[in-house]
Symmetry: C2
Subunit: 237 residues, 2 copies
């Protein structure tokens, strides 16, 4: 029997208690495991200790999977314990593993090797933002990060807007928080006045806000207070 790969979400905000964003049952799964494939060992240890698992953290085995893990042989070695019957948990730095982070490489290999994959429930800023946006939730696309340099950046925004308008598909994307203000200025400059723009900041934390206005309306009110705060952007019809 091979082991099971559990995808274990963690909070997206440091100001949130575990019980606010994670089902109680996730702890029992984490507690049944002694092998973890993680984006960052330090934050995974901190998360597991906050979760209150009963095993001593030092008795657990951690292996890192992140942007430095690129060779197929390394990823193959990460799942060797699963082939030998040991189950594992995948934990990313924030939110749900394998969405907008490197975890999917190990999941992909598990499917090739016939290893069962079980995703657990937790906070995804993407889905929370779509829920709270009032934009179309019957059709939406997550596009990851925008290109950093111009003219690619403005071009990407215009392409998202064109697809949002022609297909009525909400276009979701993210940015490094310190670039939020500049990005938002570029969005307002690039989009039609009637295009709806959502800003969803600090999701799940007490300071959270999600606001949707047309680009024209945003131009008439003060800039949202989101400098250096984690934010999801959505362009919609």
């Amino acid at each position: 029997m091979t082991g099971v790969l559990y995808l274990i979400p963690c909070p997206v905000s440091d100001e949130t208690a575990i019980s606010e964003v994670l089902p109680a049952a996730n702890k029992d799964i984490a507690d049944s495991l002694d092998y973890f494939i993680v984006e960052n060992v330090r934050s995974a240890r901190r998360f597991l200790s906050k979760t209150g698992i009963s095993r001593p953290i030092d008795s657990l085995e951690f292996r890192e999977l992140n942007e430095h893990t690129t060779s197929p042989a390394e990823i193959e070695s990460l799942i060797a314990p699963l082939l030998a019957g040991r189950s594992a948990g995948v934990i990313s730095e924030a939110g749900v593993p394998a969405v907008a982070d490197p975890g999917s490489a190990v999941v992909e290999l598990c499917h090739k090797r016939g290893i069962k994959v079980v995703p657990l429930v937790g906070p995804s800023s993407i889905i929370l933002a779509v829920m709270a946006s009032g934009q179309n939730g019957q059709s939406f696309a997550f596009n990851g990060y925008l290109p950093v340099k111009e003219p690619d950046r403005t071009r990407a925004i215009k392409r998202f807007e064109a697809r949002a308008l022609s297909e009525n598909q909400s276009q979701v994307f993210i940015e490094a928080p310190y670039r939020n203000v500049k990005l938002f200025e570029t969005i307002l400059r690039s989009c039609h006045a009637s295009t709806r723009i959502t800003v969803a900041t600090d999701l799940t934390s007490p300071s959270q806000f999600t606001v949707t206005r047309t680009a024209g309306e945003w131009g008439k009110v003060p800039m949202p207070d989101f400098a250096k705060r984690p934010t999801i952007f959505i362009i919609g019809k």
Copy 2:
């Protein structure tokens, strides 16, 4: 002061305990409310009673928002209590409100009227399927239901495949469970042998499975056992 609109997820499977898929804190929010905007009153009452809220269910006010709620005046009347300072919870039939269900109309109006919207964490089959698929989670699109009739149906599948291949964007869609088998046959007939197809069935329930294979590999193994079971499909590169 206006009230707050809380988006309250519920389980996606009848076989799942509340504590397996919902954070404990969601109950406290539900318990603070006496007004609910719901897709179906009967299932919302059942969910709230399963959640163990302390108020008698019969003391709560329920208003329905579903495919029959189409007039702007009706939606306006749903949020009148919020404008008067009363908070409300939105509950859909399964999973997270306002994604792949009618809830977003009321959220949209709340943004227009300056009412705060707060999304709570819960199970989204879409995000769980993307996590567990091993397909690209840096870029993915949810497309809702496919057209039912041919040739539109095959055309939609080929369009999803073309976008999955050219943009490396995973294409997620759903179908009424009794049509899963026929849909899967059409997918295998329509896609290239090397295109990866994910089937994610009964997510969050003990019987769940998520399997990704190329269309060519799927053709050589028995059909997955998903007849009449809730399933998410993903086409990817």
